[in-house]
Amino acid sequence: MSDVVGTLYGDAPDVAAGPTPVIRAVDLAKRYKLGKENFVDALRSAAFEVAEGEMVAIVGPSGSGKSTAMHLVGCLDSPDSGEVWLNGRRVDGLRGRALTRVRAHEIGFIFQGFNLIPTMNATENVAQAAEYAGLSRSAAAMRAGELLDLVGLADRAKHLPSELSGGQQQRVAIARSLVNSPKIVLGDEPTGDLDTVTSDEIVRMMRKINTDMHTTFVLVTHNPEVAAACDRTISMRDGVVVDQGYGA
């Protein structure tokens, strides 16, 4: 079986010994057209893997394609070429219902800053993701309560995002990303807007969830401390992965 995979994806990098990858990004390319003549190659044959239960950082200069890679892995956009595999299933090219199901059930997303829907309180923001995944309104609200409890915000459940601090807002976003129990949580600079102390707090919270619940985290960051707190650091430059961070 591994031979077949090896033949099909011959240039796939060595996998760390252990569990099968929950994310496989194979030679991803994405070109953005700017007007008629100009274009940007946001990704050029970017490849990486993440094993189940890992907490991985993605670093690289601005414009190196980190966000684009997150979006492709998170099925928010499709690559021009290459493949995305999640939990052993190929997902690039999915459309319609199948696509929304992957977004709702298999991945949690945390973004930088303005992450929450401003007219909804903390519970409603978290519950919304559960409702999109098919839970009833009351079941979703209950589940949201559990997760706000998990991130220590039970007493802020009825607060609107504007009534929460930046760190609290990101904790609500973490709760939301976990509400449908996905195996993978993707964070695009989740601590980008936070001060060092709060950022540290958030990273520690994610690490605890990673340890306790075995959720895989992939975090794009510019912050070396965040990267240092992860198991491994994937480095990108000019639309390619230059180092998967497995060491020598």
């Binding site: 979006h71 709702a104 992450n115 007219t119 993701a129 999109y132």
Partner: protein, 387 residues
């Protein structure tokens, strides 16, 4: 109610948009209430005149005969083939003068000799008290629209043309002519009528044979228009009219009028619909990042579409309901003011109320369709890059 909260996120804009719909629905309700009233009056007339022939002595004014005729003519009429029954009736204005400003029906005094019993199908039921019995003098029943005007109560007395009558019943609303009528015995009506005649004439006739018209009921299967022509031919000094003229002319002109009135109101509502499109388009572009986030956390295109359509529907519904309430208040106030002088001008029917709110809601949904579709089909990555 998350959708409601989203609509009112921009308060002034939501208010202005809803106000646009409100104005449209207000005009639809007011105009519609007028046509509903007209339609009812006409339908009442169609029902009343539909199956009979009305015989008068000649020229008439507002359906009330100017020259009286004698109840002796009943036997002449009943000899005409096809005639089942002829019944004398007397109708005159309630007041000594015709009101200068009037709409619809004018308050009248009505009386019948009772020979129409079993033939007349248009029967006015009493809301309070009882019906007038044949030959019961000094007593009246009062139509629902003139109860206030006469300060009538069952058991009390009313003054009609300077004479006092006891009220034995107050009629149910029929939404047509009888609502404006006082019904009394033929004898009482004949006395009042005789008082209006010049003294010379009064002395030369028997007042208790006076009638203003004779209502002719035709035999089953006979066409009243045909019988009317037959009467005109056989008794040339009387004028008989069948239902056709009344029905065809009035119904035709009424439906044209209704179409014009409703059309004008619809146009003003359409303008309200355009402002919903505008508002929803702005809401979608302001909330681009929100749409990106919703898609990233698993919203289907359908879910996004439903959300924005629901918001547009709420704008339409809210505007529709406020328009209906304002329209209902306006028509009630005007009706109350007109009740003193005569007939109510407006009638807000259930179908008008439900129809206009429904129309506003559907309009909201239709106006929200394109903006919602646009939101649903956004590329999530581009939406997320939006600040």
């Amino acid at each position: 109610m998350r959708f409601v909260r989203n609509v009112f996120r921009r308060k002034l804009r939501a208010f202005l948009t809803i106000f646009g719909i409100t104005i449209g629905v207000l005009s639809l309700v007011v105009m519609g209430a007028m046509t509903e009233k007209l339609t009812l009056l006409v339908n009442g007339g169609v029902r009343y005149y539909g199956d009979k022939v009305t015989v008068t002595s000649g020229s008439t004014l507002l359906g009330l005969a100017t020259n009286p005729l004698s109840s002796n003519r009943i036997s002449d009429l009943e000899r005409v083939p096809g005639v089942a029954r002829a019944s004398a009736s007397l109708g005159m204005l309630l007041d000594k003068q015709i009101p200068t400003v009037s709409f619809g029906n004018i308050p009248t005094i009505n009386a019948s000799d009772g020979r129409d019993r079993g033939y007349e199908t248009f029967i006015v039921k009493m809301a309070q008290g009882r019906e007038l019995r044949p030959g019961e003098d000094g007593k009246v029943t009062v139509g629902s629209d003139i109860v206030n005007k006469l300060s009538a109560t069952v058991g009390g007395t009313v003054k009609i043309r300077d004479k006092k009558f006891e009220v034995v019943g107050i009629a149910e609303k029929t939404l047509t002519a009888p609502d404006q009528a006082v019904v009394m015995s033929m004898r009482d009506a004949q006395d009042l009528y005789a008082d209006t005649l010049p003294a010379a004439i009064r002395q030369s006739i028997d007042p208790h044979k006076l009638a203003t018209s004779i209502v002719v009921y035709v035999k089953p299967g006979k066409n009243p228009d045909v019988i009317a022509r037959l009467i005109n031919h056989e008794i040339p000094d009387l004028k008989a009219s069948g239902p056709t003229d009344f029905i065809t002319q009035i119904v035709a002109s009424l439906s044209t009028l209704n179409a014009i009135i409703i059309g004008i109101a619809m146009i003003s509502l359409m303008v309200g619909g355009l402002s919903v499109i505008n508002t929803m388009t702005m809401a979608v572009s302001e909330r681009t990042r929100e749409i990106g986030i919703r898609k990233a956390i698993g919203a289907s295109n359908g879910a996004i579409m439903r959300q924005f359509i629901a918001e547009a529907a709420i704008i339409g519904l809210t505007g529709g309901l406020t328009g209906l309430v304002l329209g209902w208040m306006f028509t009630s106030v005007v009706n109350a003011a007109m009740e003193v002088s005569g007939a109510p001008l407006f009638l807000v029917t259930a179908r008008l109320a439900v129809g206009s709110v429904l129309f506003a809601t559907v309009l909201g949904v239709l106006s929200g369709l394109y903006p919602a579709w646009h939101a649903a089909n956004m590329n999530p990555v581009e939406a997320l890059r939006h600040e």
